[in-house]
Symmetry: C2
Subunit: 349 residues, 2 copies
């Protein structure tokens, strides 16, 4: 297929950053005293191209798919949990469901390739590329053509969504394995450092998982590290590939992208290898408890807002961090300046 | 005066903690995967005495007062900023004003001893104990009788407030000096480790501030470290003393207490020396960028939710963290169990 990657504006114009910084510095508070919330406000303003940013119609999209590598015993939960959790999302019972409702954020689930046939649901988009990927430990998870189709699907999903914020979550038993493979292959960092307990493996099971992933990397050693879509086709998964397209389109349409944990960060790593400008549009919600996320964040130069030991995925960390983005905007838009409030400035030092 | 410290129930019954933990462990998510949000949910449930905690009518109270020690050049801002910021709070222009509005939290300001006469305002409580404290570097900031009155005021303020959550903030140019003195005197930790830049002193000015505070400690060296109210009377301030009473009453009336930054933590340290059970009721919103807060948190065994380099005070960090408390409750109350959602449990490890 002929995949057209959307064009992303690189945010190189520093004059808006200067205007945003000056605006914050003139608010009634000591200089810099709102710490990371100030840089967040500048970032959001810069992404949206205004000194009065307003986050509108935030869209939480949860991308779901199954992974063939699960048959190698790399997950604490059976593959069936993927479709069961999709139903749980749609029935408003999952963590991310109740958190999205708390913040009145719209939740859409995408079936990117779950081994299950779902009944139609107004909040379910079906973009199924198969009944789960093939087992990436001994074959390619999908063909490059299917991988391109997944990216195209991701682009189209975001194009159809309103608002100026994309919040990404995922569900897929086995997808920490795919994310670890992607991270190791694209970064050159040893698979052991990239591999964690996922949904809750014990230390012996993590050793087994690492062994399987090392075999997978050996099997795919001829795949060139500088061909992100070929690497992605080799490792899977369908949901990660679909997210890659959504990330690129969200940046191209100048939305704020709220990045959840390890899996979404791995999708972002792939997207950034296609166009590094995508990173300009990303806010990192949290540092996950999943081993590998800290070095992946470092690799992406991402500074997370939260560090609460979350390791659930689904977009749950992103939803917990979401009100902080709103706080950054109200500070920028609603706080009084020194002049307006008649407050004196620093007198000493 | 005859100060009656309210009686606080020590939360020693572990059966409720076990019930809360079991309830969370049965939610549709890997065990422990919501990290610190899970312990927060258990804590809130335990404080409110129920497995279905609901946070009602949260009250943000900002305690304001002036400090005589400011004349020694310990702050980057002039004392006038205290009253100017009180007016900014009431005019909805300060950081904490816009954050409280974002979350629909009621904001009350208490004039505990600001050097200014305010016009009446429906959200201003006047419990003035003087036009600022005396200069604690060379005299007691207030008498023990006035200090007791301040504590009594704090008790009465909370008694009159509805809801089951107290969120504390403060405003008082010079109050990091009082907080540093309290912390050093009550803990025995050297004043240098307890002293930071406050509203934004440069390094030379911090050295000067530390020198003044060391003089103050020498002046008050005969005040016994195990008499918290005598120490508090020596150092001030009026707002910290009033907060001590409010903290004790909030715990006694079994409210969730959301602790902001360095100053509120110093008030809590004093309260905990009167009755250590108060700590059972506290949630620590954030680790402040103010030097000394990290060791003060360690001293109080407080694990903060956020670590964003905030150092504004006013209750701003508490307001930014507030939605995380609500998230903890929705997870406990609204998420489906494995049984209810028909989701399979762990199969491996």
């Amino acid at each position: 297929m002929n995949l057209a990657i959307p064009k992303i504006l690189k945010l190189e114009d520093l004059s808006l950053v200067e205007q945003l910084t000056a605006k914050i510095n003139n608010k009634t508070k000591p200089l810099g005293s709102l710490g990371q919330l100030e840089s967040l406000a500048v970032k959001i303003g810069n992404i949206l191209g205004t000194t009065t940013p307003c986050l509108t119609q935030p869209q939480l999209v949860v991308y779901a798919a199954d992974h063939g590598i699960v048959k190698q015993g790399v997950s604490a939960f059976p593959s069936d949990v993927t479709w069961q959790m999709v139903q749980n999302f749609l029935a408003d019972g999952a963590a991310v469901s109740v958190l999205a409702r708390q913040h009145d954020v719209s939740l859409t689930v995408v079936d990117c390739g779950v081994k299950h046939v779902f009944e139609a649901h107004p909040r379910l988009i079906v973009k199924k590329l198969g009944d789960g990927t093939a087992d990436s430990s001994c074959t390619v998870a999908m063909s490059v053509e299917v991988c391109q189709q997944a990216v195209q699907n991701g682009i189209e999903i975001v194009r159809a969504l309103p608002g100026n914020v994309l919040i990404l979550g995922e569900m897929g038993i086995g997808n920490t394995s795919a994310a670890s493979l992607l991270f190791s292959k694209l970064s050159g960092i040893d698979i052991e450092q990239c591999t964690g307990a996922g949904t809750g493996l014990d230390s012996d099971a993590v050793i087994h998982k690492t062994k399987i992933l090392r075999q997978a990397l050996e099997f795919h050693h001829t795949v060139p590290d500088d061909k992100p879509l070929e690497v992605l086709a080799a490792t899977g998964g369908f949901e990660i590939a679909t997210m890659v397209g959504s990330l690129l389109e969200a940046a191209a349409s100048r939305r704020v992208i709220l990045v959840d944990g390890f899996i979404v960060s791995a999708a972002l790593l792939v997207a950034s290898r296609i166009d590094s400008s995508v990173l300009d549009y990303c806010v990192f919600a949290h540092r996950s408890g999943e081993r590998g996320h800290t070095i992946l964040l470092d690799h992406l130069k991402g500074v997370p807002l939260l560090d609460l030991g979350l390791r659930l995925g689904e977009g749950s960390g992103a939803m917990i961090a979401w009100p902080l983005l709103q706080s950054a905007c109200v500070i920028l838009n609603e706080m009084a300046s020194f002049e307006a409030a008649g407050v004196s400035r620093e007198s000493v030092s």
